[in-house]
Symmetry: C2
Subunit: 401 residues, 2 copies
């Protein structure tokens, strides 16, 4: 006789709700008709350097190269770490070997950090809107989130100070200061300094989640939080090759104080032992061969053109009916409609019209953005961008009718 | 003025101590002289099918195949899941699509499971000795471990029942029932049944960690716990391609009740988003091309020969002074000396003699095995195995002198 079993789930399991990005992309994956895809934050297919990668692959994990298929050192393959250090040398992101830990994408950098620093009930500041899976990771360790609004200069640091007030101080401040996901905003220099002062006073860890920083196509480079932090070990960066080479590699890095590295290694061993070695060797080869700088320069120009194309198309179709951001880099525009447009309801109608985006509420655990949406301009040609925004207009007309 | 910063670590961070395997392998990595490597649980370099993988790689992620570098579905690439289902069909491991979630190696299967099921203070049964990083993952979620001894028939289930007694019941029973790491023991059919009965009565989750199950080289196949569990959703398997193809791929799978899949997907999204896609496509191609069955058959014969070579060498050098296990598959022998040999002290002496192993205490959070060690026979030729065991004899003589 088959009895009914109760699943003895952990308390945190109730916080592991599937994100709206997940359900949106699942629905998207089932579609077979022509869709202009503004949803995912992937580079354009034509931006993936498959020729160079194939050539390097033949060399680094080709016939006879069995060692490329063995376990990697948990902190990362020495060849990749060396190549990355050389790549960053002389830039505002320059770092040192003992600060560098290779991760399985930027996402694992966040998982490692929240795992090491977050106890159940700890207060974690997140931006509002923010990267869904970033806040999801904090929630998976049962953190309590404080959602602080973002404007065109990034996290509203004064607002954060007011909201924290005399109450409990945040254990962690999770920010995407450069070309923020989803808003595209970059934190001003003044706010960066002010954020670091407050974090220092509060004893908070600052996570600088920076997947897009190398993809600046306008404005001047800004010092990173790490650079401004004057050696404070409580400021760390989470970086990735996902947006500058390809997301499927799942290769990223954490740049953190040396005293954190053994903790990162121990935590990572109990997560996935090490990051897959063939892809580490592939990225290491791509860097060592000097491809990255040129590749990024090319992409910057492509993304600038696409951003302008999307803004122009939005002006053509939505002037007066919506507003959108003007990022200096990265992948995204954040579009806010008059409050009558419910972007969750819009999503399915837009899919039927042949255009996909991510609804604004996916970027806020408290669902503060029912009338906003995120569009990725990076993965689509200007012609397709114009077509897609036209389709979005028709979808908005339908739901408004 | 640089002030001192206190790291606001999570409580669990103190449980994230670097394992002894980690420190042993770090030390090993620094050696430059000739060493016979019995330490790591990697397949032999010559067992890695680099020719076939290179050929498949050219096809599945070669020039123009940008889609192979995009984000993968969190539950796994459809091509790999289909190929794996076909591969397992008709075997005692046969499963169904909705039970299958691709993971970043078997390790992530353990991380996912403990994350979903373990609250701080929950009781988790682990085998003694056990796989270090398995118990480390449970500890990273602040589980309390109950170490139950293993003998030549695997986990001593009667002992587990006695130890639990009238007290708190385990939330999770973590077992490696087939060719156990590190002991090599396989759980008898009678104990498998008894374990499932107790787990069912207690409402405990059973994790069947099975990296080696396909590598049987003696004896008859045994039904898996899942097969014996009669649909109990609290019995799941954690599997991997690490030992049957190559560990650097970091591709594994969890075979679990369909009602757990959405939880696994949500938890994995907040860990690493998805498993790297090029390696999923590579493994999928290796399976779809029909390579795995033949590859595993070849390896079984190789490993059988090596196990015998190691046992013969042990008999030659240690007859009467130590005892060792006789596994029917997998990678490891577990050697227990008379209590006068401290294998942690032995480790450095052996390294100087030119042979590496893992000390027994690395496999027990309470360090119950000071006079035991684990040797991997899989990665070394019979000649080198004989040489290595001879060196081990000399090292033992030195520390005993």
């Amino acid at each position: 006789m088959q009895q009914t079993h109760t699943l003895p789930l952990a308390t945190r399991a109730t916080d592991l709700v599937g994100s709206m990005i997940d359900s949106s992309t699942s629905l998207l994956a089932q579609q077979t008709h022509d869709i202009v895809r503004f949803a995912m934050g992937s580079p354009a297919p034509e931006a993936v350097p498959t020729e160079a990668l194939a050539e390097i692959g033949r060399r680094v994990f080709g016939p006879g190269e069995a060692s490329a298929y063995d376990y990697a050192a948990t902190e990362g393959d020495p060849a990749l770490r060396d190549a990355l250090l050389a790549e960053l040398d002389g830039t505002t992101d320059a770092t040192s070997p003992e600060r560098l830990t290779i991760t399985s994408g930027g996402m694992q950098g966040l998982d490692l950090t929240f795992k090491i620093f977050t106890d159940p009930g700890d207060l974690v500041v997140v931006e509002s809107p923010t990267y869904t899976n970033g806040s999801a990771t904090a929630l998976s360790y049962q953190a309590e989130l404080l959602e602080v609004p973002v404007d065109h200069e990034g996290l509203q640091v004064d607002r954060m100070e007011e909201m924290v007030g005399d109450g409990r101080k945040p254990k962690v401040i999770y920010t995407i200061p450069t070309f923020q996901n989803p808003s595209g905003a970059s934190m001003s220099l003044d706010r960066r300094r002010r954020l670091l002062d407050l974090a220092d006073r509060w004893g908070s860890l600052v996570i600088d989640d920076d997947p897009y920083g190398m993809l600046r196509f306008a404005g001047d480079a800004m010092p990173s939080l790490h650079e401004l932090a004057d050696g404070n070990p409580l400021v760390l960066s989470v970086r990735t090759f996902s947006k500058i080479i390809a997301p499927g590699l799942r290769v990223g890095w954490v740049d953190a104080a040396p005293e954190l590295q053994q903790l990162l290694i121990s935590a990572k061993q109990a997560m996935d032992t090490c990051t897959n070695l063939p892809m580490q060797r592939l990225v290491g080869g791509f860097l060592a061969d000097g491809h990255l700088r040129e590749h990024v320069t090319t992409q910057q120009a492509v993304y600038r053109e696409r951003k302008v194309a999307m803004q122009d198309a939005l002006t053509e179709h939505f002037d007066g009916g919506a507003r959108w951001t003007d990022p200096e880099g990265g992948f995204f525009l954040w579009v806010t409609f008059g409050s009558e447009v419910d972007t969750e309801a819009l999503f399915e109608v837009a899919l039927a019209e042949g255009v996909a985006f991510i609804p604004g509420n996916a970027f806020s655990p408290s669902k503060h953005f029912p009338n906003a949406l995120r569009v990725c301009f990076a993965a689509t040609t200007p012609d397709r961008i114009r077509e897609g925004i036209g389709r979005l207009r028709r979808a908005v007309d339908k739901v408004s009718a």
